[in-house]
């Protein structure tokens, strides 16, 4: 009799395991392995850029730095010149800030690009045109979360999974034809 229970247990575990596998497959399926699974939170950026200061306290518009979001599929990463535009004058209050801002100036003087570490990346087979979402009055925060409160930028509230995109498309009653994003 005990044998039968063990057998039942094994079967149950097997089904459970396969289900778990399938689910994980789903979520990992639509995104870059390295870009997610929470690993992004402990990414060390070349410069400890505080979004909460720029977007939160200073209330700088997102598109001031991410300049191409409204006219391109890519939001755009600010060129060093954009940074230096302000930070020629602004040197930071405490020395921690000063140290970081010093790095910016260093990059500028060396005329080197800042190798930011990517946080958000949809999979290669997904086409996400920022411009259309801006044009549709989708608030940046809806996908990127309350950036203005983040000291260190972290991927929030969604794994960029397809279901997450689709549910929003259904909500807003916009096309969820596959070929809108996949081609």
């Amino acid at each position: 009799m005990t044998k039968r229970w063990i057998g039942a247990l094994i079967v149950a575990l097997a089904t459970l395991g396969s289900l778990v596998f399938v689910q994980t497959q789903d979520s990992s399926e639509t995104q870059e392995p390295e870009a997610t699974n929470g690993a992004t939170t402990d990414v060390v950026q070349p410069i400890a850029f505080p979004h909460n200061v720029h977007a939160g306290i200073d209330r700088i518009d997102c598109q001031y730095c991410h300049f191409s979001a409204e006219r391109s599929v890519d939001a755009g990463i600010p060129p060093v010149r954009t940074c230096i535009g302000c930070h020629q004058i602004i040197g930071g209050t405490d020395e921690r800030q000063q140290a970081e801002i010093a790095k910016v100036r260093e990059y500028w003087t060396n005329q080197e690009p800042i190798p930011w570490v990517r946080i958000y990346k949809v999979a290669d087979h997904v086409h996400f045109p920022h411009m259309r979402h801006i044009a549709a009055q989708v608030d940046c925060a809806e996908c990127h979360g309350p950036v203005q409160e983040m000291g260190v930028l972290a991927e929030v509230n969604q794994p960029l999974s397809m279901g997450w995109c689709v549910s929003c498309h259904i909500e807003r009653d916009v096309s969820r034809d596959c070929s809108v994003c996949h081609y």
């Binding site: 009799m1 044998k3 039968r4 399938v22 689910q23 497959q25 789903d26 979520s27 639509t30 999974s161 397809m162 279901g163 997450w164 689709v166 549910s167």
Partner: protein
Amino acid sequence: MATATKEPRGAVPHPDLTQLDQVNRDVLKTLGKPGLVWWLMLGLCIAGIGMLGVSWGIQIVQGIGVTGLTSPVGWGVYITTFVFWVGIAHSGTLISAILFLFRAPWRQSIYRAAEAMTVFAVMTAGLFPLIHVGRVWHAYWLIPYPNSRFLWPNFRSPLVWDVFAVTTYFTVSATFFYLGTIPDLAAARDAANGFRKKLYKVISLGWRGTDREWHHFGKAYIFLAALATPLVLSVHSVVSWDFAVSIVPGWHATIFAPYFVAGAIFSGVAMVITLTVPIRKVFGLEAYLTTKHYDAMAKLCLLTSMIVFYAYLSEFFMAWYSGEEVERAAFWARLFGHYWWATWIMLVCNGLVPIMLWFKRVRYSIPALFTISIFVNIGMWFERYVIIVTSLHHEYEPFAWGVYRPSMVEMGIMVGSFAWFGFWFLLFTRLIPVVAIAELKEVIPTPMRGAAPAHAGGEGGEG
């Protein structure tokens, strides 16, 4: 079974069986210690399975390109073998369920082996849809389950029908098979001791053979049979629709469903002969698997062979009669094109060789039947190869015509699938009574002390 009436004594298929418990002794002794031959064959099968694994591994790592498949021939040996095994499976259900419903007298002693063959054949067939897809790691997308993409499979696709049909078929036939074995497992339990006793104790579910058990068992069994009968027809129809619903000349034919079912039974019965002949010899079950049985199976072979051959002819005729250029060209290519040899193997093995079964002497000669059954197996494999490959290589667009040559990997997997089947069947012969003990007892004389009770007189003239 519970409702199966006794055979009139004249037609008793096992004249030299009188004692009920003699059956137990004879059959259960097959579960004894396996001999060297058995171990050798098991080793051979395990080696074959290894080959299958390695070949498949190569294919997954490098890509489906290691096969010989190409455009326009997108399907080849894999699907051929898939259909072959599904076909093999069918005769098992036919013998166990359909013949049961029709009360065929010669069924009892062979249906156990046939049913086991069904289950293992479906297990083998089930491998191939997985093997042939390009991204097997995504194959589970064919299964409808709530997922984070809100996506479902396309139920218009015959491939999804396949998924449902084959899984259902496996579940039902496995259940049917197991149900039938329970009383015999109990018998084995009562005879065995030591570990085996424990094992049988568990899997016989504490069967005691009480009147209540038998009563409901009988009902359940007959309903399962009633369900399995349309199922077996539907499954191979669905498989045939993989081809028939397409527009490929040579595939798109209304005759396909019945034609495939007949072919399936044809190949299946042949396979039963191929498998039971050695068992009979090795285990000395001549008293159980009598020449009468083989005669009956041979007749079934002959019938289905004629149906199949008729289907061939009607296909060619319709192709010609339709006057449809593409259709004609396809069938002309089938006969005289690049794959003429495959077609002629098919015609000879499935159409001409079985003609010998018209002769009683052949039907009653075990070696002859064995040889013929081998021919039929080969012929039926090539039938599917012909249908799939020759049709695809010569389609609508002449500029896109092309040929396909199977690669070593494909061959390795195809051969390996036989090993995989053999592996399970060998285990079966040692773990489960190859002849249905309880059911056999129905067709040997009932032990009677005196005259039958008056009211039981209707039960055929015993005593």
